[in-house]
């Protein structure tokens, strides 16, 4: 038996291939802590759903070990894993009422009748749908079905709940509402959740940690804030949030600072994250809200001439597209606050940013 310090679930060197030619999951090592809300985020085909299916028991790893509570579960049948799962299209049994759907996992576990009724009522209360007990899934709206699916995955008190893009079919407003609700239920029950999504804002909103998948590999596994503010490679920087890229060559590296030469345009000061040595190609990553327009002279180490190309008014802020250092798709978010200069397309401005906000990553 594992102690509390051991990870609850661990993937060790897990690989998966469907056709014997392409590895969908390449050498996955991942530890999931007890009570954690972990999100697997990535574009479609990145291996995140396959990882989830291996954990649920619907796919067998081609190589490696998956352990749960220190016990290998590679060959444990899905129904013996005691893992709750919420599916993308809910997979509520259409021939059963909401009540019967919720009772199903308890019935197959041979729970006593009165106990079943109690637990079903409690689960329905938890998702605020006690009045829908006698309805069939077909008579419920998408959001209601989603709640029932959630209640069904939790009603038998599993220690681990898997969610495969459960909010994908809902409209934006309902989705945001449900994100908060799932988050609250997670906090209240203390259950471990592994959540799969391709929606980065969903991942940032809900998770304790996010594993960004691409090409069968975890690109970065970190807290949401770290993921956004300290991306470790260009893919993560590009995939999470909005990102300005500048391609250049490393001119100098000096501990926690480096100079990057943008050909024909000048030198940018940045912090080196994944640059090898002087002369290697790199991509600078810079968040749009960290750039100032017309800063005081000398305030920032990086200051360059730019020309305003386009302005898009978005209420609380204005997206300003400028051309700077040969990049005409450079976005700056200008907050709609006092003292912000009025801009117009074609205007010549100065733009500046701190070296700490500019990360020199692998060449993209």
């Amino acid at each position: 038996m594992g102690t509390t310090n051991d990870p609850f679930v661990a993937f060790t060197d897990v690989q998966k291939t469907y056709d014997g030619e392409i590895l969908v999951v390449k050498n996955l090592n991942l530890s999931i802590e007890r009570g954690e809300f972990l999100t697997l985020l990535g574009p479609s085909g990145s291996g995140k759903t396959t990882t989830l299916m291996m954990l649920a028991g619907f796919e067998v790893p081609t190589h490696g070990r998956i352990t749960m509570d220190g016990v290998e579960i590679n060959n444990t049948a899905p129904h013996k894993r005691n893992i709750g799962m919420v599916f993308q299209n809910y997979a509520l049994f259409p021939h059963m009422t909401v009540e019967e759907n919720l009772a199903f996992p308890l019935m197959v576990r041979k729970v006593a009748k009165d106990e079943v009724a109690k637990k079903v009522a409690r689960a329905l209360d938890m998702v605020q749908m006690p009045q829908m007990a006698k309805r069939r899934p077909g008579q419920l709206s998408g959001g209601q079905q989603q709640r029932v699916a959630l209640a069904r995955a939790l009603v038998f008190d599993p220690k681990l709940v898997l969610m495969d893009e459960p909010l994908g079919a809902l409209d934006k407003q309902l989705r945001e509402h449900m994100q908060i609700e799932i988050k609250h239920i997670h906090e209240r029950l203390g259950v471990t959740v592994v959540y799969v999504t391709h929606d980065q804002s969903e991942a940032l909103t809900m998770s304790d940690r996010v594993a960004v998948f691409n090409d069968g590999i975890i690109q970065q596994l970190a807290k949401p804030s770290a993921l956004y503010e300290q991306p470790e490679n260009s893919f993560v920087a590009q995939f999470i949030g909005e990102n300005n890229r500048l391609n250049g060559k490393v001119a100098s590296v000096n501990g926690k600072a480096c100079g990057v030469e943008i050909q024909n345009f000048g030198m940018v000061s940045a912090i080196p994250i994944s640059v090898q040595n002087v002369g290697s190609a790199t991509t600078l990553s810079l968040r749009p809200e960290r750039v100032r327009i017309n800063p005081e002279a000398g305030h920032y180490a990086n200051q360059f001439d730019a020309e305003v190309q386009e302005l898009i008014y978005l209420g609380d802020h204005t997206r300003c597209r400028v051309s700077v250092l040969g990049n005409s798709n450079f976005i700056i978010k200008v907050a709609n606050a006092e003292g912000v200069p009025s801009l117009s397309p074609g205007q010549k401005v100065r733009v500046g940013w701190k070296p700490e906000d500019c990360r020199a990553l692998d060449a993209y």
Partner: protein, 412 residues
């Protein structure tokens, strides 16, 4: 004021809408009309006509009009009086002229076997009768005309509609006392045939379900590459003539056929089994023909069931069998209901297959309908059998609807 204007506007608006859509409605009607007329002419009308044939009874009323009128005053308890015999003689003279005595004899023969020749004889004799008393003349001619039963039958048959054929189709008849009784045991036939028809149909339906369900499951879950090939194999018999398929079974199952040879060689049996011209052969051949009809609706329903349902059930703790039985199987019910109903109803009407591969005790109701239509030329009886089969089918359909719900069925 403004309200009136509004409602006036509304009524003219409705009129305008009707006018605007009239052309479209007419065009739509024009498109359906050919099919509608086709169904009316070749389907509804023949069925209606044949159903009336089951109770239609014009022979006696048309050809013995005077006797029919005279019998109206008869109490039916004793032999009729001289007036009836006189009318009978007059009618027979006319019938002899119009060569209708044969028809009369045939009609009475249905109810009183052996009457035909005596009717022809009576016709010839009546031609020569000039003066009465006619009663004595007929009684002298043949004891048949002196029997109360004969006149009761003629009286009953003189009505323009009759329940005779329908009762006969259920092995029933009118008793001399006016009630309904079973026919003599040696003449009982049709109830057995109906029960046999239903029994064979139920058997074939169950056989196609047991064989078709797993096959449909494999087809629905296999990758398209393989399932397409299997689907062609399933549909192959569909594209072969029914006659060819049935004859092929005769070849395979006959006494000297490969199946019997194999069984003998394996020592399973010491003498060839009666695989063909038996109930077994009938059910095998019919199952083969009906399999796609049961399978296809089940297959198309299975295609729409997401594998996530079974996965969900498994993740919720159900073992493979209970996930299948409690979650997957109930969702295939609309397809099973549709496929089984289709096969069952088609089986009720089977004719060629039992005729070719069945023994004498395996013939279904259609065989007798054909027999009465083509050989016996007793269309009344054929129609009555058809009417009873139709009624039984509709009753079963209603029961089925109550149990399964037709609106829940999916044919594909």
């Amino acid at each position: 004021m403004s309200v009136t204007t509004y409602s006036e506007d509304r009524s003219t608006l409705k009129a305008r809408l009707r006018r605007a859509e009239r052309m479209q409605r007419l065009r739509a009607l024009g498109l359906v009309l050919p099919l509608f007329l086709f169904i009316l002419v070749v389907f509804v009308t023949p069925i209606a006509i044949l159903l009336t044939r089951a109770v239609d009874n014009p022979e006696i009323a048309d050809n013995l009009p005077l006797t029919t009128t005279a019998l109206k005053d008869w109490d039916g308890k004793d032999l009729p009086g001289e007036a009836v015999y006189a009318a009978f003689a007059e009618d027979l003279k006319a019938a002899q002229k119009s060569k209708a005595t044969g028809l009369l004899g045939k009609r009475l023969n249905y109810e009183l076997p052996g009457t035909r020749s005596k009717m022809l004889q009576a016709g010839r004799t009546a031609e020569k009768m000039t003066a009465g008393p006619f009663k004595d003349a007929f009684l002298k001619l043949d004891p048949l005309w002196g029997k109360l039963e004969t006149w009761q039958v003629i009286e009953r048959a003189s009505h323009r509609t009759t329940s005779f054929y329908l009762l006969k189709a259920l092995d029933r008849q009118w008793s001399p006392t006016g009630g309904i009784e079973q026919v003599a045991p040696d003449q009982r036939l049709f109830v057995d045939v109906f029960v046999r028809t239903l029994g064979i149909s139920v058997g074939v339906t169950l056989a196609t379900l047991i064989l078709g369900f797993p096959l449909a499951y494999v087809l629905a879950t296999l990758p398209p590459r393989h399932s397409n090939l299997m689907m062609i194999l399933v549909l192959l018999p569909f594209w072969t003539s029914l006659l060819v398929r049935t004859t092929a079974w005769v070849v395979v199952l006959q006494t000297e056929g490969p199946v019997n040879d194999l069984l003998l060689w394996l020592g399973v049996t010491n003498e060839p089994l009666p695989l063909i011209f038996s109930r077994f052969g009938t059910i095998v051949a019919m199952t083969h023909i009906q399999l796609p009809f049961t399978l296809l609706p089940i297959y198309s329903v299975m295609k729409t069931i997401s594998p996530n349902y079974v996965r969900a059930a498994r993740s919720l703790g159900a073992g493979p069998f209970s996930a299948f039985w409690q979650i997957y199987f109930p969702q295939t019910m609309p397809g099973i209901a549709a496929g089984c109903l289709l096969t069952f109803i088609l089986c009720l009407g089977y004719y060629i297959t039992p005729a070719l591969v069945g023994g004498p005790t395996d013939q279904m109701i259609s065989y007798f309908v054909a027999l009465y239509t083509n050989r016996e030329l007793n269309w009344g009886q054929a129609s009555a059998l058809g009417a009873i089969l139709l009624a039984a089918t509709l009753i079963l359909y209603a029961v089925y609807n109550k149990l399964v719900g037709i609106d829940k069925m999916k044919l594909g």
